[in-house]
């Protein structure tokens, strides 16, 4: 069943067309890859879906419980409420907060305490705060980060910071997770472990994963379907085998002969 569908997205920056009538759709529960050479417009697509950028035209339909929702009508901070959450290519942690606090911020939308409950510490505050904290601990445990909980996030090594970002985004209870280069900066064994974890995330939480990644081995390993784009246009959509054997894809990456 289709959960997210992009139709004819266009985004230009001045004279440059970064995304050019792009259409694709995600099936519920799949791991979907978005690849392409540098500057192909991958991160721009993420930024459009999460409303950091305003698309020039097109539609993004979220199909949730049989209801269609036009994401382009929402503001950026309303996207997580709809079950869509993202990570960033250049790691956007809250470096001065502890790891646990980072995760608790991830719970922002679902943690329903108001400011009066908070400053007067009413019983409902403790109940909800504790529930969120327990969930954070479970997720940290899943990432083997339990003993890092009270460390300042900015003081962790890079690989662990990437995991914290992933853990934090899971706190939003997403249906669809947009991962922008989750393996960037990781070594081979960390990447291998990441692949396992992404599969587990899908299996345990039933989350649809939408992955932008340059590490082809990882993409071919975990993705069920892949969309290759170049100059903001779809080159090919298909299974990893189809992508690997496609002449057009090889040309996009290596540069085909001119005419």
């Amino acid at each position: 069943m289709t959960i997210l569908e992009a139709k004819d997205l266009v985004k230009t920056f001045g004279g440059l067309t970064a995304v050019d009538s792009l259409s694709f759709s995600l099936q519920e529960g799949e791991i979907y890859g978005l690849i392409g050479p540098n500057g192909a417009g991958k991160t721009t697509v993420f930024n459009i879906i999460t409303r950091f950028y305003q698309a020039d035209s097109g539609q993004i339909i979220l199909r949730n419980n049989g209801q269609d929702l036009e994401l382009l009508d929402l503001k950026a901070h309303q996207i997580p409420e709809q079950g869509i959450a993202r990570t960033f290519q250049n790691l956007e942690l809250f470096p001065n907060l502890t790891v646990l606090e980072n995760l608790m911020v991830g719970r922002h939308v679902n943690l329903k305490t108001n400011i009066l409950q908070e400053i007067f510490r009413l019983p409902s505050f403790f109940r909800r705060e504790e529930a969120a904290e327990n969930q954070a601990m479970e997720i940290l445990d899943f990432f083997d980060l339990l003993e890092r909980a009270s460390r300042r996030a900015g003081s962790l090594p890079y690989g662990e910071q990437k995991l914290v970002e992933l853990a934090r985004v899971l706190m939003t209870d997403p249906d669809i997770l947009l991962l922008d280069e989750p393996a960037a900066g990781l070594n081979a064994s960390e990447t291998h472990r990441l692949a396992e974890r992404l599969r587990e995330i899908r299996a345990n939480f039933g989350i649809t994963l939408f992955v932008v990644e340059h590490d082809m081995e990882l993409v071919m390993d975990i993705c069920e379907r892949i969309c290759v784009i170049n100059f903001g246009q779809v080159v090919k959509i298909g299974t990893p085998e189809e992508i690997q054997n496609s002449q057009k894809v090889q040309e996009a990456y290596l540069g085909g002969e001119e005419n």
């Binding site: 950091f52 950026a76 959450a85 956007e92 305490t113 908070e118 705060e129």
Partner: protein, 351 residues
């Protein structure tokens, strides 16, 4: 849940203990008179500036927003207090509340400016607003008395008049404690975390559903409320409000208190306030320094440079990190060795 206790180990029980101990000392002093009235007045000043610094910290330390116009809100709180207490003989508490709420309203309006501006531009815009409001104080003589200022009666609560400055000090110590506990709760909750998240990365905050508009306005509203209350306490302490002091210098002092004492730190705010209040007093007693005009500004500036360069987290956090924590950790390690516990299991809840 052991780890959550570890994170929460900075319980506000120790704030309560410290403030109550201080109050006990002052209460004993009402009978023996060890402190001079000048010293008592200095303590009163440290406390209301402490509340100013706590408020400014909500804005700058937690929210990452800047304002150089907050002196005007303190002045507004002071004038409101003078007006309400002088003309309507209202009680201390309702006056205090109104003197917080009306500046909060103006602060929210200033926050609307903050939505469009960042950093230096925001500083300049808020500076302009602050100077404008100060002009209004000078001109609007019906409300402020213009350059002759306004006098106001002693604070009165439930029929009791705080005629003795010791008693007033006890009263505002309690208010300080309340403000500290509310700030502590605020900082360690969804709202406080959202502010800190916004400070650290606006992108990530938005991507996690934090409405930046709402939290920027909230930072300005809350900080103006604190500062307005402090203005009210100022008015009751001095019992005279004049337009001269609500200018840029005071706004810069607020900034200095927070930077020197410690960003996003509650005890740090008090440290910063004490520093800014005591520096002029101390420099006055040093033979050579007291001949230099404006030595306070020079010393404050030097202190800011020194703190930013060598202890960017502020004096209090620096002390805690470099001196208190190593000592405490050593105790914990020794304790663990005795109990044979692993790192995850140790119960460090100091309360």
């Amino acid at each position: 849940m052991k780890l959550s206790e570890l994170v929460r180990s900075h319980s506000y029980a120790k704030y309560a203990a410290a403030v109550l101990l201080f109050m006990l000392v002052i209460w004993i002093d009402t009978h023996i008179g060890f402190f001079s009235s000048r010293q008592i007045n200095l303590m009163i000043r440290v406390i209301y500036y402490g509340i100013v610094a706590l408020g400014f910290n909500v804005l700058l330390g937690y929210g990452g927003q800047i304002s150089l116009g907050h002196a005007a809100f303190m002045g507004l709180g002071a004038y409101l207090t003078a007006y309400l207490a002088g003309n309507y003989q209202l009680n201390f508490l309702p006056v205090l509340l109104i003197s917080g709420l009306i500046p909060m309203f103006f602060g929210t309006a200033l926050g609307l400016v903050a939505l469009r501006l960042e950093r230096l531009y925001l500083a300049i815009a808020t500076l302009g607003l602050g100077v404008t409001i100060q002009q209004v104080f000078q001109e609007w003589t019906a409300f402020t008395g213009g350059f002759s200022g306004v006098r106001l009666p002693r604070p009165e609560m439930f029929g009791y008049v705080f005629a003795h400055s010791h008693h007033y000090l006890l009263l505002i110590s309690l208010i300080l404690l309340a403000v500290m506990i509310l700030s502590y709760n605020f900082a360690r909750s969804r709202t406080g975390r959202a502010l800190k998240a916004m400070r650290d990365s606006e992108y990530a905050a938005r991507s996690l559903g934090i409405n930046l508009v709402k939290y920027k306005l909230l930072a300005f509203a809350a900080s103006s409320f604190y500062v307005g209350i402090a203005g009210s306490l100022y008015a009751y302490a001095e019992r005279f409000v004049h337009p001269q002091i609500w200018g840029v210098e005071l706004s810069l002092d607020m900034l200095a208190m927070v930077v020197i004492g410690g960003l996003a730190s509650i005890p740090g705010s008090l440290f910063g306030a004490a520093f800014l209040v005591l520096i002029p007093q101390i420099s006055r007693t040093i033979p050579l320094l007291n001949r230099i005009t404006n030595i306070n500004f020079i010393l404050t500036g030097l202190a800011m440079i020194f703190v930013i360069k060598f202890m960017p987290m502020g004096i209090y956090n620096w002390l805690e990190l470099k001196i208190i924590m190593p000592l405490r950790n050593r105790e914990v390690q020794i304790e663990q060795r005795h109990k044979g516990l692993g790192e995850d299991d140790h119960d460090n809840s100091g309360s």
